[in-house]
Amino acid sequence: MNNNDTIKKTLIVAISLCLVCSALISFSAVELRDLQEANKTLDKQNKILSAAGLLEEGIDTSVLFESINTKIVNLETGLFDQNINITDYEEGSFSRNPSTSIELSSDVDIALLKRRENFQTVYLHYEGELLNAIILPVRGYGLWGTMKGYLALEPNFKTIIGLEFFDHKETPGLGGEIDNPKWKAIWKGKEVYSDNGDVLISVIKGSVDKSSNDSKYQVDGLSGATITSNGVSNLLSFWLGDMGYGPLIDNMKLQETKDV
């Protein structure tokens, strides 16, 4: 057998191996990208529909999603933005880019986001001409990482239809129970704003006392997952507040009264 340990042979083996490996990976990444992207979109659409309670057994998610109107909103002004193409919008790159995001000072950054993008996508569902649901993307830090989800509100911009997380790193069985259908069901019908517009919704420690006046603003905590529960409270307070969708919700309410 010839000598493998010459410098020439070593270089030849190393370089050809690199070429073969990188070609294989590039090929698979390019070939499978469409499928992967489709999976991601489908998963998000699924969660959006599920938050708004629009998921139906046996009907394709993509078909159901056609009834959803996607809009880009300027979070500063609370107005819909027509200039950004929805397909160009990407939350990650917008929140990292200094020109399309703002840095959050620690006193307002309750959801521990560090930066907040100036634009976000929101999803509107109309029943005929009437607004039926508005679905807002929300995110914030839990115990191990950022929890990302969708909050669906009724057209009074106050009552929750549902809350659904599509990406989180919480401990299965403890914080991971934010995916438990039973816990998610508690959210339906809870209210987020008080009559004078303060964000009151929160996940409390233990169970909610149903006789109390505040019970409509409170959700049972997850046992063994205080930090996750607080994270959920904080991210809702942030996104429903002035730094989040507050301006949008004010504008939409105004619009609604004008229309009437």
């Binding site: 057998m1 493998n4 340990d5 042979k9 070593t10 083996v13 190393a14 191996l17 690199c18 490996c21 294989l24 990976i25 698979s28 990444a29 499978l32 499928l35 992967q36 999976n39 991601k40 489908l42 998963d43 990406d167 790193k169 401990t171 299965p172 069985g173 403890l174 129970e177 438990n180 039973k182 063994g224």
Partner: protein
């Protein structure tokens, strides 16, 4: 036993990579909370170790000795990335749950160990069979752990409810400890114990003898 049969079946109980060689423990702890996810992980690892053994063996006569570990790692890393891409394309839900652990197959000692110890010295077919056998050996332990953890931790078997949980209105109060990776340590320990009770030749000879308790020695002297 023929050589091929030996390469395939030995790693399952006689020379199990997890139970006897104590390799690949990290993923056995991390991804065994739920049987379905565990099965995906087992398929992923088995395909990586089979293909890496095959590829390493195919080029074994051309690998320069001084860069052989780098060559093996490059091959393994490539295969792992391929598996990850395929998983993201065809089973997005599981790839989300497994997240970083698919990528971490690269650091799984079983894959590297078989490439270095077996595939560098044997023909392609036999190496592939050996890889597959070791994948099966890994899988069987993971499946045992996953069944126990899912059953005690969530009251289900493969997602099918066996014991209704109190949180869903049933009678079984889930043992959350079994949902944490630490519980796998105990289950692996008991599995190894059980296996060595059955295959007594796996019991290791003590490396040293613990000296007699001084109190007992005194008692005997009296």
């Amino acid at each position: 036993m023929s050589k091929a049969k030996e390469a395939l079946l030995n790693p399952i109980f006689n020379d199990n990579p997890i139970a006897l060689q104590i390799l690949g423990i990290c993923s056995a702890l991390a991804v065994t909370g739920n049987l379905y996810i565990t099965l995906i992980m087992c398929v992923a690892l088995t395909s990586v170790v089979t293909l890496s053994n095959l590829s390493v063996s195919l080029i074994r006569n051309h690998i320069p000795t001084n860069i052989r570990i780098i060559v093996q790692i490059s091959i393994i890393a490539t295969l792992v990335m391929l598996v990850d891409e395929v998983l993201q394309a065809f089973d997005y839900e599981s790839s989300k749950t497994l997240s970083v652990f698919v990528g971490l197959i690269v650091t799984n000692c079983i894959v590297m160990g078989r490439a270095e110890a077996f595939a560098m010295k044997n023909g392609p077919l036999l190496s592939a069979i050996d890889g597959f056998g070791n994948g099966l050996g890994y899988s069987i332990i993971l499946i045992i752990i996953a069944i126990i953890r899912e059953f005690i931790g969530a009251g289900t078997f493969y997602g099918i409810e066996i014991m209704p949980l109190t949180t869903n209105g049933g009678w079984y109060l889930a043992n959350n400890f079994f949902l944490t990776p630490a519980s796998s340590f105990f289950i692996i320990g008991f599995t190894i114990w059980a296996l060595r009770e059955w295959k007594t030749d796996q019991i290791e000879k003590p490396e040293f003898k613990i000296s007699e308790n001084s109190l007992e020695a005194e008692k005997r002297a009296v």
